[in-house]
């Protein structure tokens, strides 16, 4: 029985088309992932060279004035790249991989973007995640929409119905064969990606693996559910494609529109102006207007004297810090708003497997919003660490060549992993079970 079913499936045109389509696009997506990783490596190498060179050159010009030297020097913090991000590039093309900052005010530097072609950003990356979320369901639809109706329309169903008592079982077997094929291709592509992209077979990989399998289980159940109504092929095709459009295009897009409109972030622009004004107005004010706030923040520097009538670096860097402090409140509000966007999106995604799959892929790959916010927090700490290590040296005008510049190589930021298996798998499992049970109940009427 199985052998016959397999043979008849392998002879269909759709089998061949699907195989070629999935494998080709899958391999392309893995190559795109590879290129993405190479670009990251290049950027990291360039930033290392840039930092080393610029320290050496500026050291030559401004040896005698450490305050001025550090006005120019930029120090780089890089988000620790992980190869798994090549499967789900997510938001990492919009958000920069690294930030090279001076020890001046951070607020004006922290949100600088990297260069990327906006057309590409708009059309999105063709990564393996895309292939799994969009194309695999399409192939499942193409292979199953006439699971029952083709037998009916070709007139073979009557013969079958007469020959076997378990008609539902027959359909399930047919479905099983198609699922087996799709899962086979999926697993092949995932392992191929792991090999080509050097992805460790760690917890995150297996989580992504399981999530993909569950996601396709969900689609298989959905296809079976529509088939179980025993309508004709045209109706099934129409219905399944419509559902696909609703799940992969309309609902996520509408949720996104809603989230963007409901949680607008004017704070981003406000903080930008506040930072500039908070810093620059200090030039025209008494030195105390700066120093009181600065010494409040960092009482350890209280003992340094600030000349009233002339320029001093302690005053200058104090002013710079005051700009950051002026924008601090609004900036925090901004992060909270963005966080809120994330929370609401995830909540809705709980009920929509496509959205959940995308968000969880990004999260496992470390390319989601949260990991970028985490990087920004890391950047704040990094910046403060730099400032606090340099402040006393600047204030005492230590000769620049007595400082060990070797230690100021680029630094890496590790995102703390957060993997909640229940949250990850439960939504898809639940939706799959509900639809699967409904489909089976429907099939009993066959």
């Amino acid at each position: 029985m199985y052998r016959l079913l397999f043979q008849s499936f392998f002879r269909t045109k759709i089998f061949l088309i699907s195989l070629v389509l999935l494998v080709t696009v899958g391999v392309i997506s893995i190559l795109i992932g590879k290129q993405y990783l190479v670009k990251q490596e290049n950027a990291i190498a360039a930033s290392q060279e840039f930092q080393k060179e610029s320290i050496a050159r500026n050291l030559e010009y401004h040896k005698e004035d450490l305050g001025l030297l550090l006005y120019y020097l930029r120090f780089t913090l890089i988000k620790q790249p992980s190869t798994i991000s090549a499967i789900s590039i997510g938001q990492s093309d919009v958000n920069p991989l690294l930030q090279a900052v001076t020890i001046r005010g951070l607020e004006g530097q922290k949100y600088d973007t990297d260069f990327e072609n906006p057309s590409l950003l708009m059309s999105g990356n063709l990564d393996l995640g895309f292939v799994i979320i969009y194309l695999f369901p399409l192939v499942l639809i193409a292979m199953t929409f006439n699971l029952y109706s083709e037998e009916k329309e070709q007139g073979t169903w009557r013969i079958l119905a007469a020959q076997t008592s378990a008609r539902a079982k027959f359909l399930l077997k047919k479905l099983g064969i198609r699922m087996l094929f799709v899962f086979g291709v999926l697993i092949f592509l995932l392992f191929l990606a792991s090999g080509v992209l050097n992805i460790a077979l760690d917890q995150n990989f297996w989580a992504m693996f399981l999530q993909s399998i569950l996601y396709l289980f969900f689609w298989s159940a959905l296809c079976l559910f529509i088939v179980s109504f025993q309508k004709n092929s045209s109706f099934n095709a129409l219905a399944l494609i419509s559902i696909w459009v609703v799940l992969t295009v309309l609902i996520p897009a509408m949720v996104n529109n809603y989230v963007l409109n409901t949680y607008q972030v004017p704070e981003a622009l406000e903080a930008m102006v506040e930072q500039r004004d908070g810093y620059h107005e200090k030039w025209d004010l008494e030195k105390d207007a700066t120093m009181v706030g600065f010494f409040d923040a960092y009482p350890q520097y209280k003992n340094y004297t600030v000349p009233e009538e002339e320029f001093s670096w302690i005053w200058y860097y104090g002013m710079q810090h005051m700009g950051d402090l002026a924008a601090e409140g609004t900036s925090t509000e901004m992060s909270e708003k963005i966080m809120l966007r994330n929370i609401v999106s995830e909540k809705v995604a709980f009920f929509v497997p496509t959205m959940h799959a995308q968000l969880s892929f990004n999260s496992l790959a470390g390319t989601d919003m949260l990991s970028h916010l985490d990087f920004l927090q890391g950047l704040e700490k990094f910046h403060e660490g730099l400032r606090l290590s340099f402040y006393p040296k600047i204030f005492e005008n230590v000769p620049a060549d007595t400082i060990d510049w070797q230690v100021h190589d680029v630094k890496f930021h590790k995102t703390t992993a957060h993997l909640n298996w229940l949250r990850l798998l439960l939504p898809t499992v639940l939706v799959f079970l509900v639809i699967g049970v409904l489909a089976l109940l429907n099939l009993r009427r066959l």
Binding site: F50, L98, H280
Partner: protein, 479 residues
């Protein structure tokens, strides 16, 4: 061809359509989506522009309120340029949410345009956005296919096609009648969307912008009418060539997936793959490298600036820069700004050329994919394409350069050289006089030039459609 017969057949298609559940469901769904996207598009446009306008004014106000000071302080104080949305962005969001919205303009430095919505969004943004244009580009084509796949194929299956021909109706009349009917149906969706857009245009326009908005609107309208004519023709063609209605539907669904999702995305990805771009840090390194080669104003021994100094001293016949009739450091900064801006612009232009190469692959695919033609055209005329963004960026950079050089000029003219008598600050009336940043959209004629390929492709598709319909009419099989 008899007009009356064609209209009769078209009318019949309408009657059948309105009897079917598909159209009712489609109309219901479209009505809901139309309301949703009109509302969310308007809210987005209105709120964001309102915020940006307010911030732009706030920034200008604080600029003007600066006390008397050294002009170079003001060059560092700088200004902001905020990107305003065109009213037609309510129609087509285009790249709106993927490009930055605010840029800090200061001396010596070209900053990035920051705070794109994408940078503050979750991964959901990649599923796309719902806008009025998206409905017309993505959803309505699917509906046209749903409504039209059976037209000829099913008549043939039922044998009614033979009857029609037997009654003396020509094949050409059948084909054109069906096409006209389907096209007409699609125009219901189109007109309702454009009616909404028209009211937005009226609502938001003033004397200065009405001409621009209405001509953009008209181009969009005509393009979409043509686009739907092409899609209807494709539907009829596929239906006519398919043995069964089911076969026609499956083919049309394949075409839809290929046109709207698979082709555009793969080609964009392929373009990216073929023409890699440097990251920002790589470009910054290259810019700095060039700058050091050509003239580094920070380096006291730089040959370029040393030669410049000698020639200035010679022209003015003085031995010391402090004896020059203008402020020398203002002069050096002006020269440095000029040089660094040129170098930066040069690198940036090269980067954008690579972007263009990346995009061209998809752009030229308009000749095989009408969706691409309408997509690019629609974005461009809605003021939400890449070129519109580049235009904003160029205007902002021009303003930045002007601001920096104006401050350098003031320093040269009004600030005394080191050791000379005179004030170290100038009156704040100079800032008050400096005009604020005002963004002007690309002119319509410029947009036409940018979108020549898309327009040409769409027209060719139109011709191809009519040709195809005439051609199948003669070959149409009755059985």
């Amino acid at each position: 061809m008899r007009k009356k017969v064609i209209f009769l057949l078209a009318g019949q298609l309408w009657k059948d359509a309105f009897r079917s559940k598909v159209l009712l469901v489609a109309l219901g769904l479209m009505g809901f989506l139309l309301l949703f996207s009109a509302f969310s598009g308007w809210e987005n446009y209105h709120d964001l522009n309102h915020t940006r306008d307010a911030i732009q004014n706030e920034a200008q106000e604080s600029w003007e309120n600066n006390p008397d000071k050294h002009p170079h302080r003001m060059a560092h104080y700088g200004s902001f340029a905020l990107r305003l949305k065109h009213v037609l962005s309510v129609f087509d969001l285009g790249m709106e949410n993927f490009v930055g919205n605010a840029i800090f303009l200061e001396a010596h430095k070209q900053n990035t345009v920051n705070f794109s919505e994408a940078s503050m969004s979750t991964g959901l943004l990649r599923f796309g956005e719902v806008s009025l244009a998206m409905l017309l580009k993505v959803i309505v084509p699917l509906l046209i296919f749903y409504l039209g796949f059976a037209t000829i194929a099913r008549e043939r299956e039922n044998g009614t096609l033979k009857l029609l021909i037997g009654q003396g109706i020509s094949r050409r009349e059948i084909v054109f009648g069906k096409w006209l009917g389907l096209w007409g149906l699609s125009l219901i969706f189109l007109l309702s969307v454009f009616l909404v857009v028209f009211s937005f245009v009226l609502l938001e326009s003033n004397e200065g912008t009405f001409g621009d908005s209405i001509s953009r609107f008209m181009v969009l309208f005509i393009s979409y009418v043509l686009f739907f004519a092409i899609l209807s023709a494709i539907t009829i063609l596929v239906s006519a060539f398919s043995k069964t209605a089911k076969g026609a539907l499956v083919k049309l669904l394949g075409i839809w997936l290929l046109f709207t999702i698979i082709l555009p995305k793969s080609l964009q990805a392929l373009g990216y793959y073929l023409f890699p771009t440097p990251s920002k840090i790589e470009m910054e390194t290259a810019v700095e490298h060039d700058l050091i080669q050509q003239g580094d104003s920070h380096n006291p021994d730089d040959p370029h600036f040393k030669a410049l100094k000698d020639s200035v001293l010679q022209v003015h016949k003085v031995a010391n820069v402090d004896d020059l009739p203008f402020n020398y450091s203002g002069f050096i900064m002006a020269q440095g700004e000029k040089l660094s801006t040129e170098i930066y612009k040069d690198h940036q232009a090269r980067l954008f050329q690579v972007y263009q190469k990346q995009n061209d692959l998809e752009r030229y695919s308009a000749f095989v994919n009408p969706y691409t033609a309408i997509k690019n055209l629609s974005m461009a005329f809605s003021g939400t394409d890449f070129r519109s963004f580049l235009h904003f960026k160029a205007e902002a950079e021009a303003y930045r350069y002007h601001l920096a050089q104006e401050m350098n000029q003031l320093q040269m003219d009004l600030i005394p050289n080191k050791g000379k008598a005179g004030p170290n600050v100038i009156s704040n009336s100079y800032w008050k006089e400096f005009p604020p940043f005002e963004y002007r959209f690309l002119t319509v004629s410029k947009v036409f030039q940018n979108e020549l390929i898309s327009i040409l492709a769409l027209l060719l598709w139109g011709i191809l459609g009519v040709f195809g319909l005439t051609k199948i009419a003669t070959n149409l099989k009755a059985l």
